[in-house]
């Protein structure tokens, strides 16, 4: 984040603005000045002179995308990714803000580490909002100091990757977080049911001779969490990378009962199925795993009908030596920042006819609401000058060798996609421009 240098003004002309937070979906011009949205108006009506102009003819102009689930791997695992490389990949994917998960080495369980993540020395090129651990070292036993973590800049708490299984600890987490209006993010997996499992349980796992994860391992935790959230007025429960139809039912029930329950899904879960796993390729291994076609259909329906609040990538870089090994021993997770928009347009918009405005909402206003990023996820006057400009019709092929991430563990290498980011602007400055 380079906010120190005085900003020049930038006029984005001729584009089609989609800003679901402001209910805008029309050709408009946009003037950015001093890191903020200065004016947004009908085409050719902005008279204020600008230092720089960007011709957005034929392009979609939206609030900067927000990814509320990424692993930047620092501190401790810089061989997989650094904050600098991870945020460069984010910029290339159109993301102007990312929320990073605390399962680093050490775990982000203190205010000092939350501050460390946000230091300019990390070299981030997009906004980084830390998510802190809910329990010390994410061991699921003693709670961290939510208040001091929040003051230091944490936007939520979670033990991502290590779900909070104990009812008592989860209850305490929700209670204390509710007093601070802090979202609690749960990686919903009953790990007592998934030991040794490396993919979804189904015909494919049976054929491949791999231990499978039942969908109930996810849905049972979501059901429990929704019940616990009900006990505290204002408790905010966010279900990370939801992957099963049954978990979705529990979220729907919570929303119907007016609970503050939100959820996200990943591009790989709305794109791929467990039966797409080929040749024991470790780049198809992630947690939650790729699921059945009925799960995928339920997710796509929920993306369309508004049940799902955000698309989040769960960008999880791993080195080659952690992936090019026996499938059951390979690390869980794939990179995802640079393919998210292309997959969403290709599969959700073109294949399943979900309106572009809804997809933009899932990348902007939706995630901004989940973690309360004020003045982001919108292009309203006065908002942060974070803007994503993309070409919804551009056909391209993802080449993992050209990734900005330090890792290349993606199942989408060679995927033909439609919809490409043309420019990413953070605080009024370009952090990515398509070559």
């Amino acid at each position: 984040m380079s906010q120190t240098k005085p900003n020049r003004s930038l006029l984005i002309k001729g584009g089609h603005v989609i800003d679901p937070a402001s209910r805008l979906d029309a050709p408009m011009d946009l003037l950015l000045r001093d890191g903020r949205v200065a004016e947004i108006a009908a085409p050719n009506t902005i008279r204020t002179p600008a230092d720089e102009k960007f011709d957005a003819k034929g392009l979609i102009v939206t609030p900067g995308f927000i990814d509320i689930h990424v692993h930047l791997r620092e501190p401790g695992q810089a061989y997989k990714e650094t904050i600098a490389t991870g945020t460069a990949a984010a910029a290339a994917g159109g993301f102007t803000s990312v929320c990073c998960m605390p399962n680093t080495q050490p775990v982000i369980d203190s205010a000092d580490w939350v501050a460390w993540l946000q230091s300019p020395e990390r070299g981030a090129v997009v906004n980084v909002f830390p998510i802190a651990a809910a329990t010390k070292a994410s061991k699921g036993a003693a709670l961290t100091d939510f208040r001091s973590l929040q003051r230091a800049g944490a936007v939520a708490v979670t033990d991502d990757g290590k779900p909070i299984l104990s009812d008592d600890i989860m209850r305490d987490t929700l209670r204390i977080a509710s007093e601070l209006n802090l979202p609690v993010i749960q990686h919903a997996e009953d790990t007592r049911q998934t030991e040794g499992a490396s993919m979804n349980e189904g015909p494919t796992s049976f054929r491949m001779g791999l231990r499978g994860m039942k969908d109930s391992a996810e849905s049972s935790i979501v059901e429990r969490d929704v019940q616990l959230a009900q006990q505290f007025a204002g408790a905010r429960l966010h279900v990370a990378h939801l992957s099963t139809a049954d978990a979705l039912k529990a979220v729907r029930r919570g929303k119907r009962n007016k609970l503050r329950v939100t959820c996200e899904v990943t591009p790989h879960h709305f794109t791929l199925l467990d039966s797409d796993i080929q040749n024991y390729d470790g780049n198809y291994k992630m947690n939650p795993p790729l699921r059945s076609s009925s799960d995928r259909e339920a997710i796509i329906a929920a993306l369309a009908d508004g049940t799902i609040d955000a698309i989040a990538t769960d960008h999880a870089p791993h080195a080659k030596h952690e992936k090019t090994i026996e499938f059951a021993r390979a690390a869980f997770g794939i990179t995802g920042l640079e393919t998210a928009l292309g997959l969403a347009i290709t599969h959700l918009h073109r294949e399943h006819k979900i309106p572009l405005a809804r997809i933009v909402e899932l990348f902007t206003a939706g995630p901004a609401r989940v973690v309360d990023l004020r003045g982001r996820g919108t292009l309203a006057r006065g908002a942060h000058a974070d803007v994503t400009i993309f070409d919804p019709k551009k056909r391209w092929t993802f080449d993992v060798n050209k990734t900005k991430s330090k890792s290349a563990n993606s199942p989408f290498d060679g995927a033909a996609l439609t919809g490409k980011v043309v420019a990413t602007i953070v605080s009024g400055r370009f952090v990515h421009r398509a070559s």
Binding site: F206, R207, G209, H321, E326, A328
Partner: protein, 304 residues
């Protein structure tokens, strides 16, 4: 990553019936008593990450009797213990001069991974719960010594199907040739999902129903430790699924009784059934040699 080298044998699932028949034909041409030195000067590496008696010794005998040199590498006592990766072990054996690698590994997909990164053929000698293709071939070879054709045979496979690579390979092979297969076992060992392995599979929880009128009874090993933690006790298992003389009598008179070994007498078999006249268990082991001779000859391009 490349395609596995010609002659690799990684599983039955993706073989055509013609390819399987070619392997069986080749085995019939092999004479373990008077072997031809087809593999003279070749180096066969046996890379075993798991215990094995039958598979390992029959591959070794098959290779040596055709004039190959064999080298056995076990996970214990090698650099694998020091944390060397599967691929690095493969590159090492290739550098030492391996012409073919026969691998047994506790994880599904390990032989494929190695084959995708080496330019020499890789033979799967059993990978996790996935496949055991050479066992399925020797079983088909054995069945065809007793039955004219596999098509139309009624076959019961009884025991721990979930954990069994032998069961998966056998199901693929036998259904490709038109056998009617009934799988039998408790839900812990035989989830309903098992019917998705191949078209036309039947499932039953009653061993009497499974073996009634069949041509082949194929019994799988049951590991006591796998019953631990399951709803089923060892005594329950024995009472409901153990193959005893009375149950064998429900099959056709000329039915054969098979088992891939190692047999745990008193568990999946009573003592007498393992040795009964219908039992072909020892013959299966014997047939492993010509079948694996053919597989090695083909792998090394020496099959005519």
């Amino acid at each position: 990553m490349t395609k596995p080298a010609r002659g690799s044998l990684l599983g039955i699932e993706n073989l055509t019936p013609a390819e399987i028949s070619a392997y069986l034909q080749l085995a019939r041409k092999m004479n373990p008593q008077k072997p031809k030195p087809l593999l003279k000067g070749k180096r066969v590496f046996l890379l075993f990450y798991e215990a094995s008696t039958r598979t390992r010794s029959s591959f070794e005998v098959a290779a040596k009797s055709m004039g190959a040199m064999t080298t056995l590498v076990l996970s214990s006592g090698s650099s694998i213990e020091k944390g060397e990766s599967l691929l690095d072990t493969g590159y090492t054996l290739r550098a030492v001069g391996a012409d073919v690698i026969v691998i047994r590994h506790p994880e599904a997909g390990a032989p494929l991974l190695m084959a995708q990164h080496l330019d020499i053929p890789v033979i799967n000698a059993g990978d996790g719960m996935h496949e055991h293709p050479t066992q399925a071939l020797l079983d088909a070879y054995t069945i065809l010594k007793h039955k004219k054709t596999i098509k139309g045979l009624k076959i019961a496979i009884v025991g721990d199907i979930y954990h069994s690579r032998v069961a998966r390979s056998a199901v693929y092979l036998l259904t490709k040739f038109g056998a009617h297969i009934t799988l039998c076992g408790p839900p812990e060992f035989l989830p309903d999902l098992a019917t998705t392995l191949a078209p036309g599979l039947q499932i039953t929880r009653s061993v009497e129903e499974a073996v009634h009128g069949v041509d082949v009874i194929y019994v799988l090993r049951v590991q006591k430790e796998r019953l631990g933690g399951q709803a089923l006790s060892v005594n329950d298992y024995i009472a409901r699924y153990q193959m005893n003389a009375a149950r064998v009598r429900l099959a056709k008179k000329d039915a054969i009784v098979m088992h891939p070994g190692p047999v745990i007498r008193g568990m999946e078999f009573t003592w007498d059934v393992a040795d009964c006249p219908q039992s072909v268990i020892v013959e299966e082991v014997r047939n492993g040699v010509p079948v694996r001779m053919g597989i090695l000859a083909k792998a090394l391009g020496k099959a005519k």
